[in-house]
């Protein structure tokens, strides 16, 4: 018995040594802290949207969040085939009790209120917020100024931090209409029930280019604004011991420029959208 256990341990150590390739010998940080030993379980949305995950297939590592996830996993000592994906809704991620993921990645904004219930990693993305509207609204005289924006009828995804931002920053004259998901917001825009909607920039670009006919990105609120900067973090169960390892991996990625490289690969079209003062 004892001998086989030692053999097993040696085997795992060998696998780790090979997979980590010597460069990232951080495997011991996460050892025994994941919900399944030797496997890193990562949750994403159902469905996961472009450009965060391409084609709703995070296993391919394509898309910004999928690529970040595999990079984080690798630096924590997990091979690509040691990463398991699962899907959760927002509500499942914040429900009390044990989680079935090690961390959850679906554009969660870090806020002080949410941090009372769950833990967030250090941010992996600073999200500019963008105004999605249609050509006919722009033709009607909408301009990327706060006073012009306040006169529009607004919509937003009710689960996002776009809602408080809309009310505090733009303060529209008519109270905004709120929806369950992106699809419903776009549907309301097609039905001309709302003029404009607030999304994070990559989502807005995708919706404007692919989903909404005649979609226009009117402008963006830069990510480093002083009020309520929107920073995305990996969501973890409160008190998850993995947090330190995840933070280390993300910090290292930020310092050596890997994170910026991934962002340039998957979110490159973000430049060129006018900034709303």
């Amino acid at each position: 018995m004892v001998r086989s256990r030692i053999l097993g341990a040696t085997g795992i150590a060998l696998v780790l040594a090979f997979s980590a390739g010597g460069a990232y010998a951080a495997g011991d940080c996460a050892a025994g802290k994941t919900i399944t030993d030797g496997v890193l379980t990562i949750a994403t949305g159902n469905p996961a949207y472009f450009p965060w995950v391409i084609d709703d297939a995070p296993e391919t590592g394509k898309g910004f969040e999928a690529a970040v996830a595999y990079e984080v996993a690798m630096r924590m000592g997990f091979d690509a085939d040691q990463v398991a994906w699962t899907r959760t809704s927002f509500d499942q991620a914040i429900q009390p009790g044990a989680k079935d993921f090690d961390f959850n990645m679906q554009q969660y904004s870090i806020t002080a209120d949410r941090e009372k219930v769950v833990d967030f990693s250090v941010p992996y993305y600073h999200a500019p917020m963008a105004v999605l509207t249609t050509q006919s609204v722009v033709d009607g005289g909408a301009a990327p100024t706060l006073s012009s924006l306040a006169g529009l009828v607004w919509g937003a995804d009710s689960n996002t931090t776009a809602v408080p931002m809309l009310n505090e920053l733009i303060a529209p004259a008519k109270s905004p209409l709120l929806y369950n998901d992106n699809t419903d917001v776009v549907e309301a825009m097609k039905a001309n029930q709302i003029d404009a909607a607030l999304f994070d920039l990559p989502t807005a670009l995708y919706l404007g280019a692919v989903v909404l006919d005649g979609g226009v990105i009117l402008g963006q609120f830069p990510a480093d604004r002083s009020e309520n900067p929107d920073r995305f973090g990996l969501l973890m169960e409160k008190g998850n011991p993995l947090k330190a390892c995840v933070d280390d991996a993300l910090n290292a990625m930020t310092e050596d420029g890997t994170l910026a490289g991934i962002e340039a690969t998957w979110l490159s079209q973000n430049t060129g959208v006018p900034v709303i003062e």
Partner: protein, 278 residues
């Protein structure tokens, strides 16, 4: 050996019954108390109780969200207020269509039958989406594409199907001999319906319709799917901003404050009706 015993000239029988009542009362209160105590004492012993309490029964979140949620509830009340009378009217039209006797008007009967079948069979939320997004999508100008108008219409169409069936059960519960008798007095078909059948039928189904009102009261929240920020949507916004489910509990408490009295009232109506019949 006095037959009339101690307590103020009560008979032995009365004394026995009083003892039995007291005994039943004591047993009932003891067992209720035991159940409540078991819940209050045992549930917090569960290992996850602290987390559950923090997520669902968070006092701080409760106080913070209550005023806004109460204000959002006004919108539910408004939607309810304009839907309920329209449902009552449209359902009556459908019910009467289903009951037309003239062969020439048979298409009305077919229409009413198909209508009730379809709208009772389709999930309310699909009707809300289809009419709330679909009809305005045809290109209506503002304000005629408002989600309030079309969402309310979806509720009215769906609920009318159920209420029409309730009316129909009331109409059919009036014995055929009354119709025959009214005809023999020289009343026209329309007059028979108006003066003989409906006054009795509608009164008979009031308790059943009270239940529909209570159900409608809750289903008004479905309109939030197409934009209006009523109480459930507002609670959902708080839920995701605070990562806490307590706002839904707040919404439930506000709803209960309305629906529990309404339910008791419906029960009382039903009980009175049963007494009147027996």
């Amino acid at each position: 050996m006095a037959n009339s015993g101690v307590g103020g000239g009560l008979t032995r029988r009365q004394l026995f019954e009083r003892r039995a009542r007291r005994r039943a009362l004591i047993i009932a209160s003891t067992s209720s108390l035991a159940v409540v105590l078991a819940i209050v004492l045992l549930v917090p012993l569960a290992p996850g109780w602290e987390a559950v309490k923090n997520s669902f029964f968070n006092g701080e979140v409760f106080l913070r969200t209550f005023p806004t949620l109460l204000r959002a509830f006004l919108l539910d009340m408004l939607i309810f207020a304009w839907c309920a009378p329209l449902i009552a009217i449209w359902a009556l039209v459908i019910a009467i269509c289903r009951d037309v006797q003239s062969p020439a008007l048979y298409p009305l009967r077919i229409f009413a039958t198909i209508y009730t079948d379809v709208f009772r069979g389709v999930p309310v939320i699909l009707v809300v989406y289809l009419i709330g997004f679909g009809v305005p999508g045809l290109g209506l100008p503002r304000p005629w594409n408002s989600p309030y108008i079309w969402g309310s219409l979806a509720l009215i169409l769906t609920y009318s199907a159920y209420v029409a069936e309730i009316y129909r059960s009331g109409i059919e519960s009036i014995h055929a001999s009354q119709r025959a008798a009214a005809h023999s007095l020289g009343l026209s078909g329309a007059d028979v319906m108006r003066f003989v059948i409906l006054p009795q039928a509608v009164r008979r189904v009031v308790p059943a319709n009270m239940n529909m009102l209570i159900a409608l009261q809750k289903d008004v929240a479905l309109l939030s799917f197409i934009g209006p920020v009523e109480i459930f949507r507002q609670a959902g916004v708080y839920k995701s901003l605070l990562a806490n489910f307590t706002p839904y509990v707040v919404a439930a408490v506000i709803f209960l404050a309305i629906t529990v009295p309404a339910t008791r009232f419906a029960d009382a109506l039903l009980a009175r009706q049963n007494r009147a019949r027996s």
